[in-house]
């Protein structure tokens, strides 16, 4: 996989390294020198979802960050539930996941700090071209799922407490249908594997658009219900967030580097790099950390009202 480095980033990188590593050269008062966080040579452990890794996004953007700060990022692709659990146990420094409800809970319990919206794509319902449940063009995710359940057409569920799985359960709930029976199969695996299984069985599944696009070349499945990126229902939106592990709870967490990483991810350069990442000629992720019209809702927990202050 060719990694395109940008020369101007390298230029900035050289400057930044000189700044962070060469504090002493500034000749300020000695006290300040010692207080500056020096992250050069350190390692950042990132736990994340399978979708950010399997789409090649992280491999595409991390070299710039590593070069800029003179550090190393260790990405562990686990799925949202497991990624948050690792962070809860203090086994990672920063998390990048996509299940707002789980993220809010993580923040509310004090394990995470400084959450930022990072980027979004959307979910799509994919299935065999034959479309036995006749959901093509329905334009409603919940109606489509209801139709699948009523037809008894095979549906593959991730079943792994990931962001996609969480979204799928929310959709069943919204549809008022309890999934179960022979037609509902939980693979307990990553998105790629779930797509493999669905492809083999000619089944329906819910996928994030990014992973599906990066796998489209070797699958017979087609998108039957679009998400909001292609004017589908808003319920299929798939926002990604990034959070630092709270150093007050886990003093081993590399907080300075985690914040440097979040700062960099939400910088114009990294946001551009995210937008530029393509698979099979299609953009997979849409950056949303920087906007002229700031989305204040990103700072507000999902479904928050002033009465539910969590006390």
């Amino acid at each position: 996989m060719a990694i395109q480095r940008r020369e101007f980033v390298a230029g900035i990188g050289a400057g930044a390294v000189a700044l962070t590593a060469g504090c002493a050269q500034l000749g300020g008062d000695g006290e300040a020198d010692d207080d500056r966080p020096d992250v050069v040579g350190e390692t950042l452990t990132l736990t994340t979802t399978t979708s950010t890794y399997d789409t090649g996004l992280l491999d595409a953007i991390h070299p710039d960050f590593e070069e800029l700060y003179g550090v190393e990022v260790d990405p562990v692709a686990q799925g949202t539930g497991a990624a948050l659990e690792s962070a809860r146990n203090g086994d990672s420094d920063v998390v990048m996941v996509h299940a707002r409800g789980l993220e809010d809970e993580f923040m509310r319990n004090g394990y995470g700090v400084n959450r930022r919206d990072l980027m979004f794509n959307d979910f799509v319902i994919v299935g065999p071209e034959g479309d036995p449940a006749g959901i093509d063009g329905m334009g409603s995710a919940t109606e489509a799922l209801t139709a699948i359940a009523e037809t008894g057409a095979t549906f593959v569920s991730r079943g792994d407490n990931s962001g996609t799985h969480t979204k799928e359960l929310n959709l069943w709930e919204a549809a008022g249908t309890e999934p179960g029976g022979d037609w509902y199969q939980e693979t307990g695996s990553g998105m790629g594997e779930a797509l493999n299984v669905a492809n083999q069985q000619g089944a329906y599944t819910l996928s994030d658009r990014g992973t599906f696009l990066s796998r489209r070349a070797d699958t017979d499945l087609v998108i039957l219900v679009q998400g909001p990126i292609k004017d589908g229902p808003e319920i299929l939106a798939n926002p990604y967030g990034v959070m630092a592990v709270n150093p007050a709870i886990h003093d081993n967490a590399n907080y300075d580097l985690a914040m440097a990483y979040i700062g960099w991810l939400t910088s114009p350069d990294a946001q551009d790099a995210i937008a530029d990442h393509e698979r099979n000629g299609e953009q997979l992720f849409y950056p949303e950390a920087i906007s002229e019209n700031p989305d204040f809702q990103q700072y507000v927990p999902e479904g928050w009202n002033s009465d539910s202050s969590g006390e």
Partner: protein, 237 residues
């Protein structure tokens, strides 16, 4: 050079993403972790097998049943136990071993020790009693007898070590849990082994790469087995 012969023509044919050093680093991590784990296992297992083979002590039967149970440990369960051990919340949390090669070595050590011990013990107890008697008759001390028996059992012990290595290098469950399957952005593996790489490539639908990695792993295991068989033949003589 096996890889050059195998990897590059295949890379040319299948247009595989054999990034510079990617495959080499995976092989290196696999071998480093498994060889280290098996070396440590051997240091523990063989002395234990010798003690159990040459002396009767209270609880010997219990130790034997523990070892036999250990032979059947599922690797994911071992991975889970090691995760609890080395996680930041666990007793060894302060060492920060989670998602490192060291954690993987601990897992594979636990997995490889029972078979090495059991097979070594079988080799030692399997040495013909007439050999022991002859050594005694010739006026050997207990130590002499033990040395003679060990010399006779050496092929069996070698077989045991290689069997432990086979178990270590081909397991996927525990190293995935405690190692995290990490490769840096430069494409150099940190905790990605051949088995976890195959799992990842298959997940991403890159079946050709997965198959090539599988072939490399198979080749390594076949070489090991060939060595085992040869040693076994010599042992029988």
């Amino acid at each position: 050079m096996l890889l050059e012969l195998l990897g590059y023509p295949l890379a040319a044919v299948f247009d595989l993403p054999f990034r510079d050093g990617y495959v080499w680093s995976i092989i290196y991590v696999s071998l480093y972790v498994s060889l280290t784990a098996v070396a440590l296992s051997t240091l523990v297992s063989v002395p234990v097998a010798i003690v159990m083979g040459f002396s009767a002590f209270p609880g010997r039967q219990f130790v034997k049943s523990v070892i036999n149970t250990g032979m059947g440990f599922p690797s994911v369960v071992v991975g889970l136990a090691v995760l609890f051990l080395v996680s930041n919340q666990g007793p060894l949390g302060s060492l920060e071993l989670i998602f490192t090669k060291e954690a993987m070595i601990i897992s594979q050590f636990v997995l490889a020790t029972p078979p090495i011990t059991a097979i070594s013990l079988a080799a030692i107890t399997g040495v013909n009693d007439r050999v022991r008697d002859a050594a005694h008759v010739l006026g050997g001390t207990r130590l002499d007898v033990a040395l003679v028996v060990l010399k006779e059992a050496r092929y069996g012990i070698a077989t045991a070590i290689l069997a432990g290595f086979g178990r270590a290098i081909s397991e996927v469950g525990s190293v995935l849990i405690v190692g995290g399957n990490i490769t840096g952005a430069d494409g150099i593996s940190k905790t990605r082994t051949l088995t976890t790489a195959i799992q990842l490539e298959a997940r991403q639908g890159k079946y050709e790469t997965a198959m090539v990695l599988g072939a490399i792993l198979l080749a390594l295991v076949l070489v090991i087995n060939a060595v085992v068989v040869r040693l076994g033949d010599q042992g029988v003589r």
